[in-house]
Subunit: 459 residues, 2 copies
């Protein structure tokens, strides 16, 4: 089963493929906001119907949260599991979007055509590259090259609460020889990448309470403790002057980078100035004795993702608020233990509280980092396939983002995962005006066709 | 013109007076929120009609913001100007109210009957005590005791942008022998008070920008400066470990309290434990070498009234935000110069910014403190009248809140102001479930009748 006619079919079918993607993008499947629950169902239904149309036996499978989509197709070895997620991030602040986030269009830009809209790059555009590769393969050869199971979740952007139970309950069905995950990026627009190191994520919310009701800052100001001041003190103390995180024990399990890998990363010629310059910054803000690439790929972080307290509307209100709250996340690397860090963080915050203040915590997920073992030959086969499609040789890279699924495939299903994706740093994922290059969509689909051919050892 | 039949008339008319107040309270005249602009007009119209119904020549007077209400009545000396404000604070967080803030009711509580709703105590209930006293006086004696000008504004809760221009343009009309202002409180439920020291208010908003768009904290976390972290560092640095404000030059113009006044305050037997205990606090949080009463009456403060940045909705979003903002106010005392403090504060914040961060500022008002000279005999006449009505002798007190109008009456109209009000610390002004004691409303009305009699030197 040659790949060349499949690649031609993909080229010929690009416009209809784009229209199919736009249909999926129009469904506002924001998983973290309960108001969009029905839209998540609709997105799952759309995928089931599309997969069935190209010969998969596809089902929407209920969970206590948003549904999973599981589909089976093809016969013979190897058995490959493909993972993606159909849920998307919220779209606020909406006024920073140049158009409706859920009315996607093809736009001409200086760098070529892009598909603009929420979820184009994270992750609907990416998961559809694989679906389109399967569609083209089936159209040309009448069947898939080997047994393929597709597994889409709808809770990736909200901590994946149903994922582990579902994988455990359906382990036999989902277990394959290797997993393919499409939720990462190219190294740059000419260099494909297989991500072999992923940071973990610990999400915490702190709620500090001072007085038991909102007060008038004239009447009580000076005498009553202000919880915004307390919360600011806590946040200000979380980093030292060198950018290191101060939570006790935080760096336990953080490995120094292997010198060979470090040398490989240095050879990539990462343009830290351009990376930061693209968002109007110039100074790497993390640990001051680390390179920018280490800061985002191999070093742990602490970020405040949201803060609120008191009056935040137009105008001014002289309130001394009862509560202030912050959402704080830690990116984890190596063998850092998210549960130990959670306990240490909470103890650290409690110890900083002045008299009269109370604190409550909410948990928003806890996933360790993933580091791939590269001894499965599928890694080198896929790297070769990607190198054939793109101008430059494919590289093994790290990723600052957290894709806990890769770790779960290893620990729950004892399965290696190949993280291959076609996003770019300027895709503005999680931000207003998210986009996906049409070239990423097109060459991504072609890349998957080549990877399927390369993995087809029984051919 | 004896006051006794006026007091009887007030007693007999209490229920209808309460119903009139409820009509005014039902108008949601939130001045800081443009959505309620028409309601502010409606509240002004209601007051014009009510004042006209008791013989005043009353008018709504346009400004570039919400309208003023000016009314004239009575003849002969002295000429007295009465001030109040018909606008109210926003009502969020609405879910902490036990009922609709704009559907006022009389409620039985352990401490007696209260009128519950936004604006009951601040300031609609208070301004209506004076209107009801005028109504009763006119009903009994057929006319007011002397010339009375009533002056209501609708922007007190949003920085009074139109107040100074209006007072200057209408100085001749508004200038009187003495001003009466009803926007303060009793010292305690048995002790009336004339407020002779008022803190000023400087309102500032800081907007810190890091990256020029919201980022994914996985992709950029560690390398990109987080503006919430920067803003928290700034806020955390605004107080030292002893609770003193650290802005350079902040304490210039802060006078030590006159020992005689300090002794008088100590004699009041202020219950700091009860004051803080009422809001579930126990430790005075201001300058640690000052009494709680000094902290709220005679010492300057810095409070964060609101903070927001990043994702603040339900769930979690791993955003590294572009912006964070805080509303910060300074309560000022003595001769502190709000404009000098604004400049020092802004310079201090700019000096704290790390590379790559930008800051913008918004101004939300700047009013110095007011300290009354007590040599006008009206002060002692009013103090005697109040002492006749209430169980305990009236006292001269300080106030933590800012009522810039008192200073403007002095500087623009060269007129002393008597600040007399009937609010209580537990009225929850600016907070959910605001109330005004029916006793405050009733005895407040009676108090004004007695004050009118005491000021009626031509009788």
């Amino acid at each position: 089963m040659s790949v060349d006619p499949v690649l031609s079919q993909i080229d010929d079918d690009l416009l209809p493929a784009t229209e199919r993607l736009k249909e999926l993008l129009r469904i506002p499947s924001i998983s973290t906001d309960p108001a969009y629950k029905n839209d998540c169902e609709t997105a799952a239904d759309w995928l089931v119907a599309d997969l069935a149309s190209i010969g998969f036996t596809a089902e929407k499978r209920a969970t206590t949260g948003h549904p999973m989509v599981v589909a089976h197709g093809g016969e013979g070895g190897p058995h490959v599991l493909f993972y993606g997620h159909y849920d998307v991030q919220p779209v606020d602040p909406l006024d920073l979007w140049d158009r409706d986030p859920f009315d996607p269009v093809l736009e001409d830009t200086e760098k070529g055509q892009v598909i603009r809209g929420r979820g184009t790059s994270d992750d609907k555009g990416q998961l559809m590259t694989f679906v389109e590769a399967c569609r083209a393969w089936t159209a040309v050869h009448g069947k898939l090259p080997f047994r393929i199971t597709i597994f889409f979740e709808g809770e990736e952007e909200s901590g994946s609460p149903s994922l582990i139970p579902f994988m455990k309950e359906n382990a036999e069905e989902l277990k394959a020889d290797v997993a393919l995950i499409c939720d990462t990026g190219l190294f740059d627009s000419d260099t494909p990448a297989i991500t072999t190191m992923l940071r973990g994520l610990l999400g915490e919310e702190i709620i500090v309470t001072g007085p038991d009701k909102d007060l008038h800052s004239g009447m009580y100001g000076g005498a009553a403790m202000n919880p915004i001041r307390v919360l600011s003190n806590i946040i200000a103390s979380l980093h030292d002057e060198n950018g290191r995180v101060t939570v006790p024990g935080f760096y336990e399990g953080v490995d120094e980078l292997d010198p060979a890998v470090k040398a490989q990363w240095e050879a990539l010629g990462f343009d830290a100035k351009g990376f930061l310059g693209a968002v109007d910054l110039s100074h790497p803000a993390g640990e001051q004795d680390r390179s920018a690439l280490e800061m985002i790929w191999s070093r742990p972080t602490c970020e405040v993702n949201g803060i609120t307290g008191g009056y935040t509307g137009d105008g001014f209100k002289t309130v001394l608020p009862s509560q202030a709250r912050a959402k704080i996340s830690f990116r984890l690397v190596g063998k850092q233990d998210p549960h130990a860090i959670r306990e240490n963080f909470r103890a650290y915050v409690r110890a900083m509280l002045p008299p009269d203040c109370k604190v409550a915590f909410l948990s928003h997920g806890a996933a360790p980092a993933s580091v791939m073992a590269l001894d499965n030959p599928a890694f080198e086969r896929a790297r070769g396939a990607l190198s054939d499609e793109w101008p430059r040789e494919a590289a093994y890279v790290g990723s600052g983002g957290s894709i806990p699924i890769a770790g779960y495939f290893k620990t729950i299903l004892d399965m290696d995962a190949l993280l291959i994706g076609f996003g770019l740093d300027d895709d503005a994922i999680h931000s207003p005006n998210e986009k996906y290059d049409l070239r990423s969509f097109h060459k991504g689909t072609r890349s998957w066709a080549r990877v399927l051919a390369a993995l087809n050892t029984s051919a």
